[in-house]
């Protein structure tokens, strides 16, 4: 966002150069290309059921991706999002099965997500454990907690009043709202500006008298909340919660974020880009299924995609200099 504006202001000469500075561009091109190719090649790609399921998948990865973008913008990372998702989904589902109202159960689930994110934040800020280690630890701890909590059983079927959350249109709406709110947060609120500034130069931000820890606590807690929101969408769409819900999703989310043009070293990035990245991830997994390829190709491709995206980012930053 910031540097595309800067590019427009300073470098009016070469259109190609200016385009090259738009962070989201490679992702948008890639998404359009795959959409065109797939609608030609894969027979049922354009069917409404498939498009709705792609929309939902995009929403799940995208909602988590928005939170992850904020975290990565501060120069951190969160590997525990999929475990937070599973725990919040399990908590809500258990409450619903016990007869608590859908609204209250959902609220408690969202609070669970916040609490997990807050715990991560405390470890990272107060106790100074590096984000990667903290969240690698909590990824295991929270996943184990879900297994113990659910007793490895599937919790469901959930009440029909909860069904609406996981439908294609509603989940897409949730994603749109989340992305819009986060964009507003980053570009219009001073605390959002601090998020970007911390990622560029944490020491400078600290020295200008801003409480860096407070900003980080806010960001990791928001990330926990968004993982829980995604958890509600997942639980509603599969009508249950399990101990292995969304296992390994953290990689998809990180891939979506870096593909959207967010620099993994922090300070620069784009929330709309993350949404495009999430769309690419879900289009790809849908394509693999439609084309009859093994779903395990997905992991291989995700690895390649993360790598390509960070290499493009690296190329862009060195090119600019």
């Amino acid at each position: 966002m910031d540097d595309s504006a800067a590019a427009l202001g300073t470098n009016k000469g070469n259109l190609l150069d200016r385009l090259a500075q738009v962070r989201e561009l490679p992702a948008i091109i890639f998404l359009l290309m795959s959409l065109v190719i797939l609608s030609a090649v894969a027979p049922n790609f354009g069917s409404s059921t498939n498009l709705l399921s792609i929309a939902r998948e995009t929403a799940i990865v995208g909602i988590m991706g928005v939170g992850m973008t904020l975290v990565i913008l501060t120069g951190g990372i969160d590997l525990s999002v999929a475990s937070i998702l599973a725990l919040s989904a399990a908590v809500s589902a258990t409450l619903m099965m016990r007869g608590t109202s859908t609204l209250v159960s959902t609220f408690v689930g969202l609070c669970t997500g916040c609490a997990c994110g807050f715990a991560n934040a405390l470890l990272i800020t107060v106790l100074r454990v590096p984000p990667i280690i903290t969240t690698l630890g909590t990824m295991g701890i929270l996943r184990a907690a879900v297994t113990l909590y659910t007793g490895a059983h599937s919790i469901g079927p959930l009440p029909s009043s909860f069904d609406i959350v996981g439908t294609g249109p509603i989940s897409a709406l949730l994603l749109a709202l989340t992305a819009a709110a986060a964009t507003f947060f980053v570009s219009r609120l001073s605390v959002g500006r601090y998020v970007l500034a911390i990622g560029s130069n944490e020491e400078a931000v600290r020295l200008s008298g801003i409480d860096v820890d407070k900003v980080k606590i806010l960001v990791y807690t928001l990330n926990g909340l968004l993982a829980a929101v995604a958890g509600m969408v997942v639980a509603s769409s599969v009508n249950s919660a399990q101990s292995n819900t969304a296992l390994g999703y953290e990689l998809n989310v990180i891939a979506a974020v870096v593909m959207g043009g967010t620099s993994i070293s922090g300070g620069q990035g784009s929330i709309p880009g993350t949404v495009v990245g999430a769309a690419i991830m879900s289009v790809m997994s849908s394509a693999l299924i439609l084309l009859g390829a093994s779903v395990h190709w997905h992991k291989l491709i995700v690895g390649g995609v993360i790598l390509t995206a960070v290499l493009i980012d690296k190329f862009r930053t060195t090119h600019k200099q």
């Binding site: 454990v129 280690i133 690698l136 630890g137 909590t138 295991g140 995700v302 690296k314």
Partner: protein, 332 residues
């Protein structure tokens, strides 16, 4: 400095002793020579992988792809030996080379392209695991010759006092000794410590940072390849999800063993004691009937506590050095 390093290993050794005594007290099935050798056998793979990871972490990096590379190596042995009829030892060599290739690729991406280790190896974590599943068609492969399986199952002996020792333990010991020699007694090892402590200072004193780092990741890849072969021999099957979560245990062992995640500090001996802690913790908890999910939970807590202890140690040392700085200042 030497005294401090010693103290670091002493702390993990104390933890090891306390846990050992605790489990021995709690259940009489723990401190039997059979059970202890069983732990040594099971954890020889983690020991080999953790030796490599120590080199990477001391150099200031990290490698979270180790578990996936172990899985890919395991599937490579299985495919080549059982499905394509290749000689088992040749297949093992190829698998170790596959590990080396993964590590070298990690190293090249990190050094040449300047990508952060965590991201580069995160990509490898996903890609290598995916490849293991794709190549094996998500099934486990078995039907290895007895001579191969004896590597992980048949012990050598009897030795006085200890009794029979599994072959894999000897393999692990060989690489532990190699790791110790490399880190302590070669210029390359000192280059790794120097790079981790301050990359800029190391560069200015003429150390080839590129070669040092590339070596660290390649060496780890090679050891992961070996770990995969050892695991395949022990469980008598090549499984695509072999080594899942191993990065977790390996990083915990290395950090418990006194290596600092900031680089420049740590020792192979400390790591091995750390692996020992992981081994007796898992085995002991199993013996007293703690379910697996609780064990994973403990390990997660252990990882964070290990890093916290490292932070605390650094703060204390910083205070101590500030103090001595003050006293010498007063003296002069």
């Amino acid at each position: 400095m030497k005294a401090i390093l010693k103290a670091k290993e002493f702390a993990v050794f104390m933890l090891f002793t306390v846990l050992f005594a605790g489990f021995a007290f709690k259940t009489d099935r723990f401190a039997t020579s059979d059970n202890l050798l069983n732990i040594a056998n099971q954890y020889s793979e983690l020991a080999v992988v953790a030796v490599g990871l120590t080199v990477v972490i001391v150099s200031g990096g990290i490698d979270i792809s180790v578990g996936s590379v172990v899985g890919l190596s395991s599937i490579t042995v299985g495919l080549l030996a059982c499905l394509h009829g290749m000689n088992i030892w040749l297949a093992s060599a190829v698998a170790i080379l596959v590990g080396l290739a993964c590590g070298t690729l990690n190293g090249l991406i990190i050094t040449k392209a300047g990508i952060q280790p965590i991201v580069a190896t995160l990509a490898m974590l996903s890609a290598a695991r995916g490849l293991a599943f794709v190549l094996s068609n998500s099934t486990s492969i078995s039907g290895f010759p007895d001579s191969f399986m004896s590597l992980g199952q048949e012990p050598i002996g009897p030795f006085p006092v200890i009794g029979y020792i599994p072959k894999s333990v000897f393999v692990a010991l060989a690489f532990i000794v190699l790791g110790i020699l490399l880190m302590k007694y070669t210029a390359f090892g000192r280059g790794i410590y120097a790079t981790g402590a301050s990359e800029e200072a190391a560069r200015l004193s003429g150390i080839d940072i590129f070669r040092t780092k590339l070596f660290a990741y390649s060496f780890t890849g090679l050891l992961c390849g070996l770990g995969g072969v050892m695991m395949t021999a022990r469980v008598a099957a090549a499984v695509p999800d072999a080594g899942t979560g191993m990065e977790f245990e390996a990083i915990t062992a290395v950090v418990l063993g006194g290596s600092s995640l900031k680089g420049g500090e740590g020792s192979v001996i400390g790591t091995i004691i750390g692996v020992g802690v992981m081994g007796i913790l898992r085995n002991g908890l199993n013996l007293i009937g703690v379910p697996n999910a609780w064990q994973v939970l403990f390990l997660g807590v252990a990882l964070i506590v290990a890093v916290l202890a490292d932070n605390l140690r650094n703060t204390l040392r910083w205070r101590a050095s500030a103090q001595t700085g003050k006293t010498t200042g007063d003296a002069t």
